[in-house]
Symmetry: C2
Subunit: 488 residues, 2 copies
């Protein structure tokens, strides 16, 4: 008999990953069935709002990124005359950039790279960070990774010590399921701090402090290793003001814990409404260095993450990302390097996509395309807020950044009770019905560990712009239907 489930790694068994959970699996089944029995459904396609996967919803690629990869993966193309390449649609700038990459890396994209990634690209990342923040960055402290998730997983695994059950990590509530799943898989404790929904999902350092102190009393044997902050926020769409970022650094310094800064949405910044200012992103690296200058002391260890999957790049499939490791002692740098070595290296194409993200060409068409893409997401973010929030039983915060809205669903008591009696969570039932009845695939708030007895869903704002109002309206009408059905 093969290994029964109770004999498998229980830390893995217990991990949950809602973003691709039951509702999504059902969506796949419906999509398949719809091809055979289209008349069975009142919709003719499924809106996949469950995952931040922009190119699946029609985001077009940045041409420069794609053309650069196209040339570097087939470097024999560079032996052609420029005019022949130009004729096919390659720009002069991309041809030159490809020649430069191949000169810096004569063996190209084929070999395993350095386990931390190409030296030339790590230098570009360091230059980008310096330019963004005004503070030096050391390319030796940059690790290129398969998206951000692989680097995050490696860091949690390393810090979750010295043995199972001895470490805790503070995660936002609501959080992104990668964190809960990875913590469970590493037998580390999740210590949740609630974001303040009433205040546009603000992070409140007083809550951090209270949660920390309570943990110390309740679990003195389980050390808190790190605070995890996602800014701009997934799933809440909030952007952290610089003042609060400084308080966060101070909190980590005071308690001598590391800070994980998940900053993959740093380019997704919107005017929350047409009348309001565009949100501003301030990196934790910058905040940290300013804090250190002001306080004349070394701040906490910072692990900050970025990715080509988000922003206007949206190259989820290429799995490119980087991590900057700041204020880490040599033994932690060394161990992270060793762990990266066991996986040999992150994929070379993802690394090249990082190169373009951090060192974009000075081309008007690139800049314009990027701005247009963000502007489109912004319009959809505003629509989502406006349409959903107009429903008196839905409370949707303004989307300041990232790619998601996380509205509160006020639900009729009778519906909630019926779900409870069936042993189910109301938001899970709600999302499954929303899929079945409207073909709209979202993730329920409980998948993000949102507060008990509050009901939310996470939806991305990535649906095609012309379909977006209709999708939001259908969601609002579905919500009304639930109310009509249960409020008698």
């Amino acid at each position: 008999m093969p290994q029964p489930i109770e004999e498998l790694n229980q830390a893995v068994i217990q991990a949950e990953y809602a973003v691709r959970g039951a509702v999504v699996i059902r969506a796949g089944e419906i999509a398949a069935d719809m091809k055979k029995n289209p008349s069975k459904y009142k919709y003719n396609r499924i809106s996949y709002l469950n995952i931040g996967n922009p190119m699946a919803s029609g985001l077009t690629p940045m041409k420069f990124t794609r053309d650069l990869i196209s040339l570097c993966i087939a470097p024999h193309l560079l032996n052609n005359k420029d005019e022949d390449l130009l004729k096919l649609g390659y720009s002069q700038a991309v041809i030159e950039r490809a020649r430069l990459f191949m000169k810096q890396n004569p063996t190209g994209l084929g070999p395993y790279t350095h386990s931390k990634g190409y030296a030339s690209i790590r230098q570009e990342v360091a230059d980008f960070i310096k330019q963004r923040d005004g503070f030096e960055s050391d390319p030796e402290h940059i690790f290129l990774s398969n998206g951000a998730s692989s680097a995050i997983k490696d860091c949690i695994q390393l810090l979750a010590g010295p043995s199972a059950g001895k470490s805790a990590f503070m995660i936002p509530i609501p959080q992104y399921p990668l964190y809960s799943a990875t913590l469970v898989m590493n037998s580390a404790m999740k210590v949740g701090y609630e974001l303040d929904e009433a205040n546009n999902w603000t992070l409140d350092v007083k809550i951090l402090e209270k949660v920390y102190q309570t943990h110390q009393v309740e679990h003195p044997e389980v050390k808190i290793r790190a605070l995890i902050v996602i800014n701009p926020s997934n799933p809440c769409g909030a952007v952290l003001p610089g003042k609060i970022a400084t308080e966060v650094i101070d909190f980590c310094a005071k308690h001598d814990i590391a800070l994980f800064a998940d900053e993959v949405y740093q380019e997704n910044l919107y005017h929350p409404t047409k009348e309001e200012e565009r949100s501003q992103f301030v990196s934790f690296k910058k905040t940290l260095r300013e804090y250190e200058l002001k306080n004349k002391c070394a701040g906490p260890m910072l692990l900050s993450f970025h990715s080509v999957s988000k922003g206007f790049t949206g190259e989820c499939g290429l799995r490119g990302g980087y991590m900057e490791v700041v204020n880490a002692p040599a033994h932690i740098q060394d161990q992270l390097y060793k762990v990266a070595s066991v996986s040999l290296c992150s994929n070379s194409i993802g690394q090249l996509a990082v190169s373009v993200m951090v060192n974009p060409p000075a081309l008007a068409e690139y800049v314009d395309d990027a701005a247009n893409k963000i502007a489109t997401m912004e319009r959809k973010a505003q629509m989502t807020y406006q349409i959903l929030n107009a429903n008196k039983h839905i409370d949707c915060q303004k989307v300041q950044g990232a790619m998601y809205a996380f509205p509160t669903l006020e639900l009729p008591e009778a519906f909630v009770t019926e779900c409870q009696n069936a042993g189910k969570l109301a938001d899970n039932v709600y999302c499954m019905r929303l899929l079945e009845e409207e073909g709209i695939c979202c993730v329920s708030g409980s998948g993000f560990l949102q507060k008990k007895n509050t009901w939310h869903l996470r939806m991305n704002i990535l649906e095609q712009e012309e379909l977006m109002p209709e999708v939001c309206k259908k969601m609002s009408e579905f919500h009304d239907r639930i109310w009509n059905q249960y409020q008698k």
Copy 2:
């Protein structure tokens, strides 16, 4: 103070990864110093024989693979007239294949793929396996992965349960350090079975049985979960005869344990010498199905792994690979899928490279290029054996397959004693000296957990062909020098 080393995850700290260990780090330092002080060294480049990274040693890419990626990553190219693409060097076959891929996958390479990988490519893998083995393969049981290593790590993590220290895995001695490192990181026990060096590194099922029984007596509380077999063998270069493969299946069936079949070198098959037959690869999947037919029973669970990093493809940087999960109960399939979901998906370009590997074009130039590449490796494998084995103090087995030789180094007692007195292993000192004095970077046998008090090194056979005899000769001369120095 940041988390001290004793407070980090000790399972990670204890893991070792020799392939990119101390000797390799020193090689990097020398390479950097050599640029500044070339006259300090009697060599003008370093031969990196430490890692199976063929394109770093001059292997050229398969043009079809590269051209397909080049077109699919920039699909606007396909809007050009075929004649313009042909003029740049794309073949008609690759243009058509790119059109087919984009038709099957209209959103292309940008989005996250299904967590198991593109359905179209999993179908190609299943077709390849069926054609190779003569038995059905189910695309739902195929998982595309970032190289083979990520899939191997996921499987070990899942089976290493139910809690830390309760599971053991049988690994070959010598083994590939990915296994030892991953097992240590998952707090699983390594149970080594020795390959028989005197018999060209044969796997002997009697030894498996003895090791298994001894383990049962010594650690009855630690269940053996799986047997790991690497065929063709890394680091030994041996190819497993079909008869022994059947015995291995029988062993796993009898003890009800899973079989990990690391078959990433299945295309690296050589005539060990010019006079001998070319080695034959028989997959464990085929052996398993034949075993089941003959014995009218279900055989053990099989997890078999393949990669685009090896063979004649050699695309290490692209991180493409697949796993086939055979005879696994639904709960294991489901958990593997969940774990894959947490990482979202493997990189899309690596998946496309897998597509070409398993479904190559029917082009004479592709077939010829592949054959030439294997023939070149074969000549280098033969050279390595002949030159090293000619040294009376080196015993080098014939290289039947894979990309490595793993010669025994007979060492003067005085040298071994001197190393021991310095608290070091003789093979580690040897490899460091070989690097310092000759610029040749190898990995010592102890990194592969080879038997105590035997001395080996692992070297790849990938050095450029015209340099290979000289490199082997320098190794042999260095060996003589050690003997001259210590045998007085």
